[in-house]
Amino acid sequence: MTGEAISLQRTAGAEAATAYPAEQLRPIRWQLILGFVGLLIGGYLGLLQALERVGVDLYRASQIKTYYQGLTLHGVLLAFVFTFAFTNAFTQYMTMRGFGRPLASTALVQASFLTALLGVVLAGYAMLTNQASVLFTFYAPMKAHPLFYLGAVFLVISTWIVLANQLLTYRAWRREHPGERIPLPSYMGLMNYLMWTIATVGVAVEVLAFLLPWSLGWLDTTDPQLNRILFWLTGHPIVYFWLLPAYTSWYALVPAQVGGKLFSDGLTRLTFLLFLLFSIPVGVHHQFTDPGIPTAMKVIHMVLTFVVFVPSMITAFSVVAALETGGRKAGGRGLLGWIPRLPWGNPSVAAQLLAMLAFTLGGATGIINASFTMNLIVHNTAFVPGHFHLTVGTAVALSFMGIAYWFVPYLTGRQLFSRRLALVQAWCWAIGALIFARGQIGGGLESMPRRTAIGAATYALPGWDVSNWFTAVGGALMAIGGVLFFIVLFGTLFNAKRVEPAAVEPPLSEVIHGPKESWQIFDRIGLWVIVAIALTLLAYGPLLLGYLPANMTSPAIKVW
């Protein structure tokens, strides 16, 4: 970053050239890098996990005491640090981009980065010293070091700060543009962060009212079942918080990157609105096998889970249709002939196309998890990591890497280092993830438990060997993809060749049926927040009230 404001010129759409202040882009860049540090360390531990099950033990050589210390680091660094930091960075940028103005507060941009960093340092200390080997779900009554919980709190606060800035920026923009539609890129980010912030109330109560005072010894006991309910109130919406930034890129940028157009502004708004409303009242579908929750509640949450499948189906349709317009413009003919005409040579596009492909498989396996009775076959088996390495581990992570292929050059003014390596990276990761998922899904269907050092287990069933090899080979391929990504990333950060940031920033997608035709009511943010809170209360109020009084009988236990 050279210090002065960067002024941008864009090719598509009616976007005006705007100057974004460098003092806002700088903390955004640092937050992005923080996220990738999480990916680097977390991904390394993933490799150790994949190899452990075929007898290759790299834990001692890596100064990691146990499989479970490693798994805690893997889960926390990837599911919280990588995703939150990337999403904070990307959303702040897209908010500016949509509104065509700087964020309202530079101090908040800095504060978001610093709180995230503080969270990583605190939780990282607790995990690296093996004082918090409780996995990323930190189920009570396993007790972690208080700094672990505190670190998690700061990570969440970093996201709240982004929302505050989005709202302030929205207010400022609204004053300058009375009566206009909220620009789509800003709308998507706003809906995502509103949804997420409402959802964090679960884990906030869990940690602040129970686990933190209990880990400090101020409370003698806690209620593990109640804590799990609160955890999953946040723990399902979190998957949409991971996913929606990828969707934002797929809707707002990828169509333009492939030379196509988005069909409908209205359906896009509807998609994000449905996520705001229905991401939260579904958390119990992670707890179909918990004894303390009545069956009726499980059924309600399952039905709502099927509802929240609808916006993803709309996305599949809208995004594929937009890609098709691009492929056809490039000369593609026939039913599928447009696919090879997409710009597969552009690593940012290729990574995200492969991510979408993985997501269709991930979504299909998700339906199985969500189905009440089929869930009994796969719950807590290796099937589940098989599923979510296609979704968050590939659809999201590979999209984020694809975004980085223009975002990092944009933020640093340095040219992408080796387009070819970046392409190989995307294919390696995607193919590796498919093989990995085959291993985990196959193992899961043969009752292999998840979150288990399978290589050291004192039991085994026939068929697990084959699955383990798929997992190990696929995981190693993903890891090679990861190494290539970091070669490209560091090569870019230190690249001597400069680029004009405006030249690498993808234009925003044009929309065929523009915002004028979309229902005005989509933009009534306040109204939808109230509806989302009401739905959450309806889905969780009776459950929590019926559950009380709390069963505060579990003292803290350390089991590692």
């Binding site: 479970y68 080997s133 996995l135 189920y139 009554p141 396993m142 593990p224 079942q225 799990r228 069909f263 409908s264 209205g266 359906l267 179909f288 096998t289 918990d290 004894p291 303390g292 929750i293 069956t295 499980k298 099927f306 499948f309 609808v310 189906m313 709309i314 349709f317 809208s318 249709a321 339906i367 189905s371 009440f372 009775t373 089929m374 869930n375 009994l376 719950h379 807590n380 088996t381 009752s447 438990p449 998840r450 979150r451 288990t452 050092a453 399978i454 050291a456 287990a457 004192t458 039991y459 069933l461 049926h513 035709e517 979309s518 009988t553 579990s554 003292p555 236990i557 089991v559 590692w560």
Partner: protein
Amino acid sequence: MKVEFYEKVFLVLTVVVLAAGLITIGASVLVAGVHVPSPAARVDPRTVAQTPPFDQPGLREIAPGKYEAVILARAWFYDPKEIRVPVGSTVTFKMTSADVVHGFELEGTTLNGMLIPGQVLTMTTTFEEPGEHLFICHEYCGVGHHTMFGRVVVE
């Protein structure tokens, strides 16, 4: 608001497919009788080893061909580790944890549940064929987690 013809078709199809899925699941519950766990009782994990029925874990016959298997999970073993039942018997598992969260999946059946301290888990199944089924702790419960298992022998 303009919604294109194909978009409408796709939306309708989505809703139809999801509704069909829900109906199938409903049928599996009502017709095939597949059940998920639901609240049975609360216990105090600090005193559970002195609380009936967990003060005497093991198998007992409650009616001809019907058994109750009481299992108490601790880091990192099940008490008892092995249960032997005759072919054709219907067994209700009654379980809980005395310390942290554990899991229980009985391989080769649809029995799958969480053993959460403070909550009693009950699940029932019928063993029609002779043979062995591993039960495995599938929730992380500490450094010995991968050594925690047991078996049901149907003879």
